[in-house]
Symmetry: C2
Subunit: 339 residues, 2 copies
């Protein structure tokens, strides 16, 4: 039910199907180029709660509820829930999803979590461990800023390389059954650390991991970037995306006209002052659920790679002088020709 | 390759084998009743590093290295590494394991992480996603105290219900191949929150989740506690263990003479001043790798349940008035009759 292609890539001869997906977002994301694509947007980014952390939890619950509703499912129809987020001890996931009563696998992959959760959900449904499994993740600008950088009230300056944590959540529900949209392959990445220490330049820290995972996958499968309609990364931003292009050139692969970054897609750089682009677990999850998967459903995209990248640091590790290790997990998604 | 038994339990007709395991610990753990069982103990609990967080990372690397060495393996012989810990953004795992270059799945299950990682590694090896996979986790008293409670220098008083975070790490390496020690079943738990809010009474917060997962597993499989040589929880401590006994009685199951708690086993309550017992991801991982699996290897235990429990809170969630959700994942381990 699961084959290995080369050293790192998992292939599904009977690929798990995408049953449903959803994405929800905050006010700033709603004002961006993809704003109209979300299932719900919240102008009040507290979502009526009394803290930003609780608001982020609420985003995850909303994303899951929308995905369940679109599939006509109840929570008990899911065998497993795979989720994670950026907050300490992953409390957005725990508190956002505790009411659902679904067996819960907690993950931590920083901003790579949407690909990590989706990849694991694909393996678990393909092998029969779950009939249906949901992958969920989130981020929130205000909860992330005060945990990783400075409280908003401080009014700190942001350098041009800094990315903007998206207030968003995305959810994908997979099934063992055949569906028009499927997960064909998964390539889980290794931790990659080239010694970047600037907490305000996450794109540069994550690009080498993205290049490593993408190179492994392309070599394992004997494919080239030109074989895909698009290669989406999330979230390298402007700085990291250029680095990825350069690193892939050195490996002999051109990403020209194939590469798109969720952090660049989510916001309008000229109008929205997000510096190097969007970031956060919710950024790639939100773009996947709002824009990429709908385009696949409509047939404008048929064969894509989705590769989410994470910076596996904490404020403590950075204060102790550590560099920022990156990781990237890759998912190959396709639409059946007759789908 | 993977069957479902009842609603929640995963069964492996060709069970993944335990290839190797190891556990390392700090000075206090070495002075406890299981002290002689560890593969290595460190009297200097900084392990020669300049921070407790770096020391905890070093523990994970040591546990993995010992397990690899005992199996005669190199890091590249592992297809996947599954790891997590208690620190913010799981930095013990990231920094402790980044040098190994193995595809890495980051997990967060608080103190349930050893069962979460072992359960997922079992599924991933059983279904062919990995030929060999390692599950690793850790905790460190000093890094946990200053992150979750107070810096050691503060000299805060500990209430009698408080548990003592173990300085330890454990690692188990699984293989697709048949071995004398095997993982027979896995039951992933749901988040369970009965409204406990006392950060110094984690045992009480986790006991309902343990009761829920154990009840689900026993009902799914039609077995009783008496069918097993022992049922190990980690880490309910003295308070939570009594609660688990009471909750299971209400479900019609007596755990008399079958239940052992890793948090109670690790320390000598009379001599070591640990109040309600040990805790931390490294507690159950350390007891599993140092004591439970060796007893199975020697044949003194043949058929056991290992159920690690986690409290999925953060200081932030507690400060915001939230209760403490618990989770418990269960692993059924057995030794072949002719093993």
């Amino acid at each position: 039910m699961i084959q290995r292609t080369g050293q790192y890539t998992l292939h599904f001869p009977s690929p798990p199907g995408i049953l449903s997906f959803a994405a929800v977002a905050g006010k700033k994301e709603a004002e961006g180029p993809l704003g109209k694509n979300f299932d719900a947007v919240f102008d009040d980014t507290t979502l009526g709660t009394d803290s930003f952390e609780k608001a982020e939890s609420a985003l995850q619950g909303e994303a899951l509820l929308h995905a369940l509703k679109k599939a006509g499912l109840q929570p008990q129809d899911l065998s497993l829930l795979l989720a994670g987020d950026l907050l300490n001890q992953c409390i957005s996931s725990t508190f956002g999803l505790r009411e659902f009563g679904i067996p819960f696998l907690g993950l931590y992959g920083a901003c790579s979590t949407m690909a990590l959760s989706l990849g694991l959900a694909a393996v678990l449904t393909a092998c029969g461990a779950a009939d249906r499994a949901a992958a969920v993740t989130s981020s929130h600008f205000a909860s992330a800023e005060r945990q990783f950088r400075l409280p908003l009230e401080y009014g700190g300056q942001r350098p041009p390389t800094a990315q903007w944590t998206a207030t968003a959540s995305g959810c994908v529900i997979l099934t063992r059954e055949s569906r028009p949209l499927t997960v064909q392959d998964v390539c889980f990445g290794s931790i990659c650390d080239l010694g970047i220490t600037d907490m305000n330049n996450m794109g540069a820290a994550m690009a080498p991991a993205a290049a490593q995972t993408l190179t492994r996958y392309l070599r394992d499968t004997g494919t080239f970037p030109q074989d895909y309609d698009a290669i989406f990364t999330g979230d390298l931003g402007y700085v990291g995306s250029q680095l990825l292009m350069d690193l892939m050139e050195k490996e002999g692969f051109s990403l020209q006209q194939k590469h798109h970054d969720c952090g660049i897609m989510l916001f309008d750089r000229n109008k929205q002052d997000v510096h190097a682009g969007g970031s956060g677990c919710g950024c790639s999850a939100g773009v996947l659920g709002s824009t990429i998967l709908p385009a696949m459903q409509q047939g404008t995209l048929r064969n894509i790679l989705f590769m989410a990248t994470g910076a596996l640091m904490s404020p403590t590790s950075s204060q102790q002088g550590e560099s920022i290790p990156g990781i990237a997990h890759l998912i190959h998604l396709s639409r059946a020709e007759n789908g």
